[in-house]
Symmetry: C2
Subunit: 366 residues, 2 copies
Amino acid sequence: MIQFLDLKKINARFEETFQKKFKHFLDSGRYILGDEVETFEADFASYCGTKYCVGTSNGLDALTLIFKAYIELGVLKANDEVLVPANTYIASILSVIHSGLTPIFVEPDEQTFNISVEEIKRHINNKTKAILVVHLYGQLATMEAINDVAKEHNLLVIEDAAQAHGAINNNGKKAGNLGHAAAFSFYPSKNLGALGDAGAITTQDKQLAEMIVQLRNYGSLEKYSNNYKGFNNRLDEIQAAMLSIKLPFLDEDNARRREIANRYLNEITNKSIQLPYYDESENHVFHVFVVRVTERDNFATFLKKNSIGYLIHYPKPPHRQVALQEYSHLQLPITETIHEQVISIPISPVMTDEEVTQIINLLNAY
Amino acid sequence: MIQFLDLKKINARFEETFQKKFKHFLDSGRYILGDEVETFEADFASYCGTKYCVGTSNGLDALTLIFKAYIELGVLKANDEVLVPANTYIASILSVIHSGLTPIFVEPDEQTFNISVEEIKRHINNKTKAILVVHLYGQLATMEAINDVAKEHNLLVIEDAAQAHGAINNNGKKAGNLGHAAAFSFYPSKNLGALGDAGAITTQDKQLAEMIVQLRNYGSLEKYSNNYKGFNNRLDEIQAAMLSIKLPFLDEDNARRREIANRYLNEITNKSIQLPYYDESENHVFHVFVVRVTERDNFATFLKKNSIGYLIHYPKPPHRQVALQEYSHLQLPITETIHEQVISIPISPVMTDEEVTQIINLLNAY
Ligand SMILES: Cc1ncc(COP(=O)(O)O)c(/C=N/[C@@H]2[C@@H](O)[C@@H](OP(=O)(O)OP(=O)(O)OC[C@H]3O[C@@H](n4cc(C)c(=O)[nH]c4=O)C[C@@H]3O)O[C@H](C)[C@H]2O)c1O
Ligand SMILES: Cc1ncc(COP(=O)(O)O)c(/C=N/[C@@H]2[C@@H](O)[C@@H](OP(=O)(O)OP(=O)(O)OC[C@H]3O[C@@H](n4cc(C)c(=O)[nH]c4=O)C[C@@H]3O)O[C@H](C)[C@H]2O)c1O
């Protein structure tokens, strides 16, 4: 049996340090917005190359806070249009809706699965105010081209970097530092995963960061003084403490993911399995390794029978979810086909070479 | 030096159990919505005497989820009026606003500081759909009278029980089971406090509980299938685990709080310090012990000089906060006077008799 993702094993590497830190955390008597959050924020900002990082409760809240902060700052206003990838985890789109903005679904590039620049251009009108870019599966979107279009039309560029911690573009810049602001999720299964819900925003924009610092804490900078209609969207001290332990190993973990991905790309030779596009010059961090098969049910049954874990990212596109039925009339054929065919096979920093070989052999025998 | 609240000491009592549990938690490899959350939900529901408990990210989100769930269920709709105590922590009111409902500020009873039934009656009109009751400082609001009025006008009654874990009315029913639904905060300083942000809702209403279960988890019951425009408002496994350790000691802790409160009430004899109202038949849980003084700055300086911690719950009423400036025209003289005069002196289950004596002597010498 090879699990899809052995999170227990991933975290077991840090168990002793986690336990020491937990004791230290208990002894501190500080559980909310203390030194651990500040330290992690500073370290993660420096890791991403941004001036600011603000810890948040999770990735969805991080995204939502960015939009709500821009609204408080008067940069965005209710019903402004935000271009979003049609092909993403639903949270990306929910953040736009929860902020009172209008999501405009944009088809992806067929090769990369990431939002298509041509399609972006096609959807820009005078109500368009922002582009929400998702670096899906750990692969950076074509940020240079997107930023050019955005500049031309005076649009904000927000990165949903929930799946791309540590990805580096060919100019050496990291995910989280490729637009006006970025949201990260540290959901446990992410490349940098907490031991519970956690998230962060990164940005070079001081005003934005300061607004989010208030909005995540009841709209308050100073205790019992509320300047904005804020929320409770704080990053927990304990999660920050655990993240600080794992952050130094992120690059190493990502390198191991790429190593495994490279083996898959080179050694899976079965023509009925379509391998993902991979531009070596951009540092894909392979949050998941997603292949395409035309008869997915068949393939899934085959994996199951052979005790190989898998997941589908994602089985149903956002515009086909009951939750978003007002968008169900949209014709998004590329997105729909992708959702019918994708399937994620195991990849993780703690997989052994033998496990990788086993999977390759099995897939070649499919 | 007597701290206002020695949280470190409160939690130190459980340190060994916390550490064992933490190891068990790490070994489980389950960090989100697993057994710990389920166990705590079952235990807390049973503690409160309700059929359902749903863990949430914090108290503000618990309140907001209740309102949003009623909206999804068609029981409430945008702009419906909700009567709220003018004299509360701002989070209570923010939850109403964030849900798209209209808060109507209601003055408290001068004696109990809790929402006044007479004032409730005065504000009911045909737009009124709910009453948000806060059991302020750990003292139950006059629920029987409030429920009677609510029944008569067909209004929902929502309890904000963030400060009243374990309070019992004179019919033996607990906070959390005195209206249609209740929100709890397990913010670390609460009578039942987590080691980070955490909250819960309790209710007898199956439909409501089921809706909140979905709304707190991206609107989803089944992975990747989204029925509602949900949120990420989950209670963390680790916080649930820690709360389960502390819950069995809540009644004992509350009893100790009452013991200290009784000494304060009997032994503080200084006429310039107005002691809180206390109906012995209702089981006040003294989340904080709040006295009134006319010259608060003076009194605070006196406490500080004598190394006694204090806090002010709260220095500025919600309608005077910049965040709620559209309500700043309201005339709420009782609320305003309370905010000018209240000050909270130390009370906690880990205070020693000597510390209590020291505080009493000092206050009598003021
Ligand atoms: C682009 C984008 N934007 C915003 C967001 C929103 O961020 P969020 O609010 O922080 O969730 C996401 C999140 N996205 C993820 C989404 O990608 C998906 O992630 P996933 O890896 O498929 O999640 P999973 O199936 O729960 O876990 C994967 C494996 O890991 C194992 N596991 C998991 C957990 C939680 C555990 O405790 N123990 C385990 O052993 C079981 C599974 O085999 O579903 C999650 C609920 C979302 O948070 C996103 O992808
Ligand atoms: C009626 C009502 N409804 C909804 C809510 C919203 O619930 P929430 O979203 O869960 O916060 C509240 C919350 N209400 C509380 C509010 O009452 C107030 O609580 P407080 O006890 O005055 O808070 P505090 O000053 O942070 O902590 C008290 C003492 O404890 C010490 N401490 C504190 C922390 C956090 C620590 O880690 N270590 C410490 O040593 C320092 C302080 O001396 O302020 C909080 C931020 C709110 O969550 C409420 O009262």
